[in-house]
Symmetry: C2
Subunit: 255 residues, 2 copies
């Protein structure tokens, strides 16, 4: 029952459904729901909202607590600031963190909590490092993932392709989404691991329009302080990368 709620956000389950499934009386299902709600809240996962009325029913909303978010992000910040992560060119290596399911699940829960009320249909991301985070977020939001690819693939069928300009290096790049992947009129949440100038995010926003869908939001794990003006206005980032000192290995991240 816990699993069904947890990964079916916003989906209303009728009391009858559980009564039949577990061959139980309404009163005991109601009691179980009450305990489950307490457990979800205590563990900072979210809450179960019960509808009164003739049929009855309940649905789950992911809602991580502020303390849990803070604790997690402080820990993640610490891990990101390890000197050995600094690469030539002042880049920061963090793929190991992004591809660790324990960390990704938490990132997904944080984004899902932020956008829980937006009734997101698709989490859209750009290959490659955005994928695990988009999957985890979609899992909690009961949504599907769509991946924009750098090259159109023969195995994906007809695609919608756009050109976009990377905000930092001003190069022209291409991204494609399979036409079959998105139905029109849906709500799309853009999720990515990193934002520098926001060129890729802007490209994704344009693709959302091309598919006649609406934008539910843009969530990124880390954005960089420079450049200050991004190519998209309204986005939500968890951590801000202030500076990377290639010589000393010092990494300054603000939470």
């Amino acid at each position: 029952m816990a699993m069904e709620f947890l990964f079916s956000a916003n989906k209303t389950f009728s009391l009858n459904y559980f009564c039949e499934k577990y061959d139980a009386a309404k009163s005991s299902v109601s009691e179980d729901l009450f305990h489950l709600n307490t457990t979800f809240k205590q563990n900072g996962l979210g809450e179960i909202i019960s509808n009164a009325g003739a049929t009855g029913g309940a649905y789950f909303i992911p809602k991580i607590t502020t303390e849990k978010t803070q604790e997690f992000l402080t820990d993640l910040k610490g891990k990101l600031q390890a000197k050995e992560r600094v690469l030539p060119g002042g880049y920061l290596y963090y793929s190991d963190l992004i591809f660790d399911p324990k960390i990704t699940n938490m990132l997904g829960l944080i984004f899902a909590s932020k956008y829980a009320e937006k009734k997101v249909d698709y989490c859209l991301t750009m290959e490659t490092k955005g994928i695990p985070i988009a999957m985890a977020t979609a899992n909690y939001l009961n949504a599907e993932v769509v991946v924009a690819r750098r090259e159109a693939k023969v195995t994906e069928g007809p695609v919608v392709t756009i050109n976009y300009v990377t905000g930092s290096t001003r190069r022209i790049q291409t991204m494609s989404i399979t036409k079959k992947a998105i139905k029109p009129g849906k709500r799309i949440l853009i999720i990515d691991d990193f934002m520098k100038a926001g060129g890729a995010a802007k490209g994704l926003v344009e693709l959302v329009k091309e598919f006649s869908c609406s934008l539910a939001g843009i969530g990124v794990v880390i954005d960089s302080q420079n450049p200050e003006n991004k190519m998209v206005n309204d986005y939500f980032s968890l951590l801000k990368l202030k500076s990377v000192n290639e010589l000393t290995g010092e990494v300054d991240i603000i939470y």
Copy 2:
């Protein structure tokens, strides 16, 4: 408690840990473990194995039931055989399924059940479509994911790169893994969405050796019947693609 077990396979939790965490007596924790085990088994997720002895403790092993696996794969096979999935060139479109967390979680549970006793440290996959399945599998196995990339990226630092020959088109391709991503002496499970001749899988196996690690297994969602002889011997596939008829849109998949 359910969540902690579910996503920490093979990790032993002491009874004391739960007693302290939930401020409960050993007897009631034991009773909860008993109920949890029953629930996991009933839902075909796995089981909790309790260690007797002075300290006591329990760990979870993912173990989906044969019936659940059959039911899921029969359903997946039906979805894959939809005519509209056939693309020019006889390719089969299935990204929407691979990127649906509900489906991916089940695929992950099936692979995790198969390799639960192998004490897997890393699930290794090739970008892009293998990623969601590797993440879901790693989630149930309490492992991390490593992604081999087609091009080395400046944000990934020093890489180990190998060339491999695609078995079907005999082209030479490149794949790279960041050096930092894998520690020597670990156990690696290779996970991918599709295998034709097995060239990419063979490349991944060679990378496992380059990192002085051992191979726990190779799991793919779909392999094709042709060519019959693959470039790797020992692999586990869930579905076999027999034929795709581009003219009629007929897809023949064997389970």
